[in-house]
């Protein structure tokens, strides 16, 4: 680690940002910035440096800055990533770094998109425990049953998966990977009784069958969720008629 920090001295890198201000611009344009960065700096640090020192009007969402709040998903060199989890030194710094908003959702300003269609798809799959009992104590769940849906509990709703999906790009009605991941989280929870409701929703023409298993979503997920596998498990549950 000493090596990692000590040996990567400062370097200058060109950042190309797809900018759009609806109050001024007719259409988006690329703007380039040269910034001096350090070995532990992330893409978010570069964006902040530009906003704080060069152009205050550069606009993006961010909060926690370490990959858990899901605010800053964006397209970095053509791949969906979190800006706060992408170290600049890990990119090819001999060439400009291209940053643009995630695709498939309406751009509001610079790197900010309208997330509402994405959130609506999430809400549409009933992302909450459906159970008829009213326990007075904790419900029991074996470690094996708990492990069954562990992977999909990691989702931070950043939309990196859904907006990397070619099906979603061409058909905004498709529920998309993130909604299916969250359906999976409940369908395979042994405490939940709403599997059939969600299976019916996702057996729809805009549901899981639109997935073409291109694996873009799995590659895009900053939380390492095996998204395509989760979608496949939901497909199997539909075919079986149960989790």
């Amino acid at each position: 680690m000493d090596k990692a920090i000590a040996e990567v001295a400062s370097f200058t890198v060109t950042i190309m940002i797809r900018r759009f201000d609806p109050e001024v611009d007719q259409e988006p344009k690329w703007v380039d910035y040269d910034v001096e960065m350090f070995g532990t700096d992330r893409v978010l640090d570069a964006l902040h440096k530009i906003k704080w020192e060069i152009d205050g009007s550069l606009t993006f969402r961010r909060s926690c800055a370490h990959g858990v709040c899901g605010s800053d998903a964006m397209r970095i060199n053509g791949r969906n990533r979190l800006a706060c989890k992408t170290l600049i030194k890990d990119l090819d710094i001999s060439n400009p770094i291209y940053i643009e908003p995630i695709k498939g959702l309406p751009v509001e300003k610079d790197l900010i998109v309208n997330m509402e269609p994405f959130y609506q798809a999430y809400r549409d799959i009933n992302p909450f425990l459906m159970a008829s009992d009213t326990p007075t104590k904790e419900r029991l769940q074996s470690p094996e049953d708990r492990a069954r849906y562990d992977d999909t509990t990691k989702c931070i709703l950043c939309a990196a998966c859904t907006t990397s999906c070619p099906v979603f790009w061409t058909d905004g009605q498709y529920f998309g990977p993130a909604a299916i991941v969250n359906a999976h989280r409940f369908i395979f929870d042994s405490r939940d009784e709403g599997a059939q409701v969600r299976i019916d929703i996702l057996n729809d023409k805009e549901g899981v069958w639109r997935c073409r298993t291109t694996f873009n979503c799995t590659e895009a997920c900053p939380r390492g969720i095996e998204v395509t596998k989760a979608i496949a498990e939901v497909k199997q549950a539909i075919l079986r008629g149960r989790p």
């Binding site: 680690m1 201000d21 709040c69 326990p135 929870d189």
Partner: protein, 588 residues
């Protein structure tokens, strides 16, 4: 909802400001009984509750003997006896139900082999009044806060709670000493919204961004706390700010105490397990204030690791990789991603990071906000990190904050809706938005040369240098002088973005104003407390002084600047509630 002069007016029974754990827990409690609106500067699942890792304390006794009374004692002792003991009893007693509520809502806790909620060790939580560490922390891997935030939001979706997301609350409207509502700025449009409510709940979180090295999100600028202060509400115990021992060195990103709960060990440059010298009984699982101080001391005395000897090492290499993967997956990934360190085989560089405000808006055990030591402001509530009830006293125990937001968030929901059912709406003044409009206009039209980011950086640097783990009268005066200078320069800022839509440039300037206010209160109360207690270490007053300072501080904003001191803040004191535990020397 109605609209005039580009101001939109809303009316609800209960207005909740903030959509983190405390705010959403309040909404769930109040939501089925009244019209509730939650207003948040972020989409709810972006809130910083989601960054909490290690767990939530509750004496379930699922894996070993435990009792709420032991938990109360640990909380009181951990807080260096500045905890209000009636509040700590409630926290510990209601913890069990709080965990069961979450499980019933669907939270995926880790489980024991027989299917119960699993529990693990955490700093300062002990069996039978300090005899040995106890397994009290209920957890979901090392993303317990993430799971709490997700589960609460999911439950809000289920209940159809109404959210106003990316709305920045910038003012609390008081009419004749009573709350009428809040004024908010809508990020997407730049428009102003006035929300009338019979009850107002503040659940706006902390203000770690007064410091440079912090585990806190960029958005944690203490808006709610500063707004309350500007409206004449005192702030309690602001000198007590927690520095979490294990931030990633140089970055401040949090590595959960669960790492030590699962067996991780802190070592200095020579590999010595130095906590054996500072806390012989519970060693690395001593409370955070003691561990952070020990680490800073090791570095100061030249035993730090690394090329600049400026950090210590968190050693997990003796743990099985399978245990690390199952119980600490996220934090080990942080070490890999941000420092390029492999925790299976290499120790992780760590140093204390500004983490949590013990102080805040004073409340009683019903989450009602107080206007002085004991006068309730009817209809105004606060819960979570922005509040001071005070269950954390001079130093919060790990896993007690996720508990706090659930217990007192629930109470805020319960009592605020109860009040709203019978109370009349306090009349909303016609010019309710006047102050916010003036503030925004002033910031937007400022034509100075100073840059907001530069001033913020200088503020954070002076706080790190002068008001961090070690403090003296001299360093605190230096910080105050710097803050005074920054205030003058703040008058000469300019904002580049003059647009209406998503103008985060404008809001960062407004947020800096909140940070300046809170940093000043923090430093002044640090200076006035001339003793050492919990997280507050005065090197010029190294002993705890119960005779003089077994009291909470209460900082009030004054109408005018005192000629002698040059400041407009008055510090008063408030007795601590003691029920069962008389102050004792704090040893671990």
């Amino acid at each position: 909802m109605s609209s005039s002069d580009n101001i939109t007016y809303h009316s609800h029974d209960v207005i909740i400001v903030g959509a983190g754990g405390a705010g959403m827990r309040a909404a769930i409690e109040a939501g089925s009984e009244a019209s509730v609106a939650v207003i948040s500067k972020l989409f709810p699942t972006r809130s910083h509750t989601g960054a909490a890792q290690g767990g939530m304390a509750a004496a379930l006794a699922n894996v070993e003997e435990d009792s709420w009374e032991w938990h109360t004692f640990d909380t009181v002792k951990g807080g260096d006896y500045l905890v209000d003991q009636d509040a700590a009893e409630i926290l510990a007693k209601e913890s069990v139900q709080a965990v069961i509520d979450l499980e019933n809502m669907g939270l995926p806790f880790n489980r024991t082999p027989d299917g119960k909620i699993d529990q693990r060790r955490f700093g300062g939580h002990t069996r039978d009044h300090g005899k040995a560490p106890v397994r009290r922390s209920c957890y979901a891997a090392d993303r317990t806060g993430h799971m709490i935030l997700q589960t609460l939001y999911q439950t809000c979706v289920k209940l159809g709670i109404e959210f106003y997301n990316e709305f920045y609350v910038l003012d609390l409207v008081m009419n004749d000493g009573k709350p009428a509502g809040v004024v908010a700025y809508e990020l997407a449009t730049g428009e102003i919204h006035v929300f009338a409510g019979k009850s107002i709940v503040f659940a706006t979180g902390g203000f770690g961004k007064i410091y440079k090295t912090t585990s806190n999100a960029h958005t944690l600028t203490g808006d709610g706390v500063a707004i309350a202060f500007r409206r004449g509400i005192p702030l309690e115990d602001m000198e007590f700010y927690q520095f979490h021992p294990t931030g990633l060195a140089g970055l401040g990103i949090l590595l959960s105490e669960a790492a030590r709960g699962e067996g991780g060990i802190l070592r200095n440059a020579s590999g010595e397990r130095f906590m054996e010298r500072y806390a012989p009984t519970i060693k690395d699982l001593a409370p955070r204030d003691m561990v952070a101080r020990a680490m800073a001391n090791e570095v100061r005395e030249g035993r730090g690791a690394g090329p600049n000897k400026d950090y210590v090492l968190l050693d997990l290499t003796h743990l099985e990789p399978a245990v690390i993967d199952a119980k600490l997956p996220d934090i080990t990934e942080f070490a890999r991603t941000y420092l390029g360190v492999e925790p299976y085989t290499e120790p992780v560089p760590v140093f204390p990071t500004a983490h949590y405000a013990m102080g805040g808006i004073p409340t009683n055990i019903k989450a009602e906000v107080l206007s002085d030591n004991d006068t309730v402001i009817p209809g105004l509530y606060a819960a979570g990190e922005c509040a001071c009830v005070s269950v954390h006293g001079a130093n919060r125990l790990g896993t007690n904050s996720l508990l706090d937001i659930n217990v007192f968030g629930k109470r805020a929901g319960k009592y605020s809706v109860e009040y709203a059912k019978t109370a009349k709406q306090v009349p909303m003044p016609e010019d309710a938005a006047k102050d916010v409009l003036e503030l925004l206009q002033k910031v937007r039209n400022a034509k100075g040369k100073e840059k907001v980011a530069q001033l913020r950086k200088e503020l954070q640097e002076t706080m790190d240098k002068n008001a961090q783990v070690f403090r003296t009268e001299e360093t605190l005066n230096e910080a105050l002088a710097k803050i005074a200078e920054l205030r003058k320069r703040y008058e000469k800022i300019s904002v580049q973005d003059q647009g209406k839509r998503f103008n985060t440039d404008l809001l960062e300037a407004v947020e800096l104003g909140f940070l300046l206010d809170l940093a000043e209160v923090t430093v002044i109360t640090c200076r006035e407390r001339r003793e050492s207690r919990g997280a507050h270490l005065r090197e010029d007053y190294t002993e705890r002084n119960d005779k003089k300072f077994m009291v909470h501080s209460m900082a009030y904003k004054q109408n005018k600047i005192d000629k002698k001191t040059g400041i407009d803040i008055k510090v008063d004191w408030k007795p601590v509630v003691i029920t069962n535990y008389q102050p004792m020397e704090r040893k671990y």
